[in-house]
């Protein structure tokens, strides 16, 4: 009993990784989404410094919100491309008809998006540190953990809605309209965690409930997406 189940989940993971590496490889050949996303993120970071006095110490207190808005906006560019890249030659049909479950396909694409989004975020952080004069590396690893968890939530919800809106003429508009309100708790938790970490406060005390909330958000929406994606993909 256990051996086929194990083999099954191994092949599930292997298939997901095959899809993820395919997505990453074709994205890295053109870097269309990646370049656009990084450039967009830098522009927003610049614009925000007009809105908030960048040299003030108080700016650090809103740094969490600032960073996550940048990530969410820049992320939408990458998430929009995720399923749209399957459209041009009817590739999505070939993938859905292939012996790979919708869940494995979804997971693969989500992992690729996660990698791309984290790349954009890692490009943004040093620029943010320089622009706003913030020594953001004091709690480096806890900050990375929060970024990974928050980004995973954004990726799961975004990839799901990317699959859902892929055939729409207005998909570039629909995706943020659907994703951002649903992301509110996830983004809120990530914002509440990021600001203290950037200011050097350790990940403990009253930050723990937010961490729990973020993890719960990720788990709930990952489970929902994996359950429902097959329905979305098979017309």
């Amino acid at each position: 009993m256990a051996v086929p189940a194990l083999r099954g989940s191994m092949s599930f993971l292997r298939q997901s990784l095959t899809i993820a590496s395919k997505d990453l490889r074709s994205e890295l050949r053109t870097k269309e989404a990646l370049n656009a996303s990084v450039a967009f993120a830098l522009v927003i970071l610049l614009l925000f410094s007009f809105a908030f006095e960048p040299t003030e110490v108080e700016t650090r207190q809103i740094s969490g919100g600032l960073l996550w808005l940048v990530f969410a906006f820049a992320g939408a560019l990458i998430l929009n491309r995720s399923f749209a890249r399957e459209l041009s030659n009817d590739c999505l049909d070939a993938l859905v008809a292939a012996p790979i479950s919708g869940a494995a396909l979804f997971l693969g694409k989500a992992l690729a998006n996660l990698a791309l989004l984290v790349t954009v975020e890692l490009a943004c952080l040093p620029v943010f540190g320089i622009f706003y004069n913030v020594p953001w590396t004091q709690q480096f690893w806890p900050l990375m953990l929060v970024m990974l968890l928050g980004t995973w939530g954004l990726t799961v919800v975004g990839t799901m809605f990317s699959a859902l809106t892929v055939n729409l003429r207005l998909r570039e508009l629909m995706l943020p309209m659907l994703v951002y309100p649903i992301m509110v708790p996830g983004l809120l938790a990530a914002v509440q965690l990021t600001a203290p970490l950037v200011m050097g406060q350790p990940l403990a005390g009253d930050l723990i409930p937010w961490l729990r909330l973020l993890i719960a958000f990720d788990v709930i929406f990952t489970a929902l997406a994996l359950t429902l994606v097959e329905t979305v993909l098979v017309r």
């Binding site: 095959t18 395919k22 050949r29 070939a94 292939a98 012996p99 790979i100 098979v234 017309r235």
Partner: protein, 232 residues
Amino acid sequence: MNPVQVAGVWKYYGDFPALRDVSFEVQPGACMALLGRNGAGKTTLLRIVAGLARPTRGSASVCGAGTRDRVTRRSIGILGHGISLYDELSAFENLHLFARIYGVADPKRAALEWLERTGLERVRDGLVREFSRGMRQRLAVARAFLHEPSVLLLDEPFTALDDRAIALLQTLLRDALAAGRTIVISTHQLREALALATHVALLVRGRLAHTGERTAEMLEDTGWLYRHYGEA
């Protein structure tokens, strides 16, 4: 048990029935030509057999299992309107990718072998976006055949292809039939399809108007079927 079985399939888009109570079977080694005008439901029917869409009522099965069964899907090869290849990947990477997804035992060898069979081995590392139309089409044919599917589903394959790709596809389909595989091919280009077909099915407004063996008079006069069973 026949490899392709469609039983009482209805497909609604809203309140509009695109397929109405369609039932047919295709035997091993048979080639069913699915005929009908545009909008008669050929593509919808093929998509249901391929597991790309679900019937509203009724069932479709391939090799005795439902079309969303993963083992079943391993034995299906599809060739649709689009080439289903990634522009940013090379010819080899595309075939290698699909060989891996289909669980082919040695994906690398299968990819190389099919590049050779389709005459693309010299451009194996070229990106698909740089290929000519004909090369893309031959690669698409390789993509559909490389996991040795026992059931082939082709949607209007001859419309987009150039001469060389048509010749390649016809050879491959003949070989497949000789090896006892099953083919369902939707087309309105009667001559190419009928030459290959052993059976025909005519869809009229989502309903199966006629199924049966392909007879000699159909080959001689391609309008025969439409005149006898279709609308004028």
